[in-house]
């Protein structure tokens, strides 16, 4: 594992929900233009961890954080950080597809519009580019005025990816993006992730170990709020160092 080109790094990150500690002393470097997978059983803290990176945990009452999350060298929890700018640079795709109840076009244009892009020409281009990058243009290019909720689940999830790409982030966080999708839609999203890593740094939380093995370069194994092991995906799956990692990967629990 080299230390070149680290885009995000958590250092001794701890998080409490009220009195319950959900993350314990997590330190992970996330490399640029790579896919980092976070695996582990339910409730192990992996989703909580990625929600720290774009500060979505700010919204949760009674949530307290210590430690650092460095993005491009500076701590995202510093007082002068503008959360709006941070979330523009670090996009997020959620577990359940969540297109807005508006047209396909307006869904994609939503981000650029709130960040100041107004002219029709620019918006048209962003919408087309984003849909193409999310491998959805061929299917919906003629249906831009249709409600986004008319699309299938898999198409909705790719629309949400396109919507994230439209604000031109550097990093994309995927929070179990395929857990609500059928195998064919899942395969398309996985292909897309492999494509996207050339331009973006990707962190994906997944329950599906085969998925982690297929799409990621690095893998971190979480258990009960602690990060047990982190390394190259191949190494984690073939020669895990920790006993609990091996037990989880071989399906002995979780």
């Amino acid at each position: 594992m080299g230390t070149e080109d680290i885009e995000i790094e958590s250092r001794n990150l701890n998080l409490w929900y009220g009195d319950t500690q959900a993350l314990k002393d997590i330190s992970i470097p996330i490399q640029k233009n790579m896919v980092t997978a976070l695996i582990g059983p339910s409730g192990c803290g992996k989703s909580t961890f990625i929600r720290c990176i774009n500060r979505m945990n700010d919204l949760i009452k009674g949530c307290r954080i210590t430690g650092k999350v460095l993005f491009e060298g500076s701590d995202v929890y510093e007082n002068d950080v503008d959360v709006v700018v941070l979330r523009k640079k670090i996009g997020m795709v959620f577990q359940k597809p969540n297109p807005f109840p508006m047209s396909i076009y307006d869904n994609i244009a939503y981000g650029p519009r709130i960040h100041g892009t107004q002219t029709k020409r620019e918006l048209d281009k962003v919408v087309e580019d984003s849909l193409k990058a999310a491998a959805l243009w061929d299917e919906v290019g003629d249906l831009l005025d249709k409600p986004a909720l008319d699309l299938s689940g898999g198409q909705q999830q790719r629309l949400c990816i396109a919507r994230t790409l439209a604000v031109k982030p550097d990093v994309i966080l995927f929070d179990e993006p395929c857990s609500a999708l059928d195998p064919i839609s899942t395969a398309r999203i996985e292909d897309l992730i492999a494509e996207l890593k050339h331009d973006y740094t990707i962190i994906i939380v997944t329950h599906n170990m085969q998925q982690a093995a297929r799409v990621s370069d690095r893998t971190a194994f979480f258990l009960l709020g602690e990060m047990i092991e982190f390394g190259d995906t191949k190494q984690i799956f073939e020669r895990p160092v920790e006993k609990s990692t091996e037990n989880y990967i071989t399906g002995r629990f979780g």
């Binding site: 979505m56 969540n98 709130i114």
Partner: protein, 288 residues
Amino acid sequence: MSRAIRGRIFSPDITDKVAILLLWASAAITVFILVSIIGMIVYRGIGVIDISFLLDSPRMSGAEGGIFPAIVGTLCLVAVAILTAGPIGVGAAVYLTEYAPDNVVTRIITFGVECLAGIPSIVIGLFGYAFLVVYLGFGFSILSGGLALMFMILPWTVRASEEAIKTVPGGLKDGSLALGATKWQTIRQVVLPSALPGITTGFILGIGKAIGETAVIMYTAGSSLLLPESIFEPVRALPYHLYILASEGISDEMAYGSAAVLLGMVLLINFIAVAIQRYYQTRSGLRH
């Protein structure tokens, strides 16, 4: 076990049938009451209803002629009420659901809204008279009557808006915030449009309540039978007109005719509420 079976006077089969019969009877009584009211009003009122009844001014205190000024008066009062209760109701609902800290003050405000809904309308009428007509000097007018009606329907618009906002899936909010939208942008562009069908329905039901209200407006809107020229002039609303026709023995026929028109307006508004809700849901793709 065997004693329990012997101890029963009726078999389970019979108690079952009796229960179903009682439930059926309750439903039947409900429908019967509704049909009786509508049937009787329409039966006794339909005779006087024609175009001139709807579009003429009353003559001889309403014993002859039509009810046009009362229809206009009702519509003006309701318009003032909903145009004021609407924005205030949505604003209060957004504050209470999205911004208010979860503490004692917020709970007191919420409780206050519920209490406001429970104030008898005659009391609101009396307050409207003292505050709007006399103290603020609006006189008997559309403005006084409309604002008094607003006091009455405000809790309903707040509560309907709150419910509508609460049913917007949290995932939509997260999606917007994760794109870098501010909380207000998220509320204005994602939450409120998603809640619009519910909010609209709440408004229209508020209009339905306001249209039939008598006690609130008899102290505040006046009882003029002339067509109003501004919101500072008095009007007589349809339910009050009907009350005067009946209680002063002017004309029973005209009273039933007015009642039938009022009933028609309320039903129409309920249909519009349903239609609007379906339209929004279809357009946004929430319903197919």
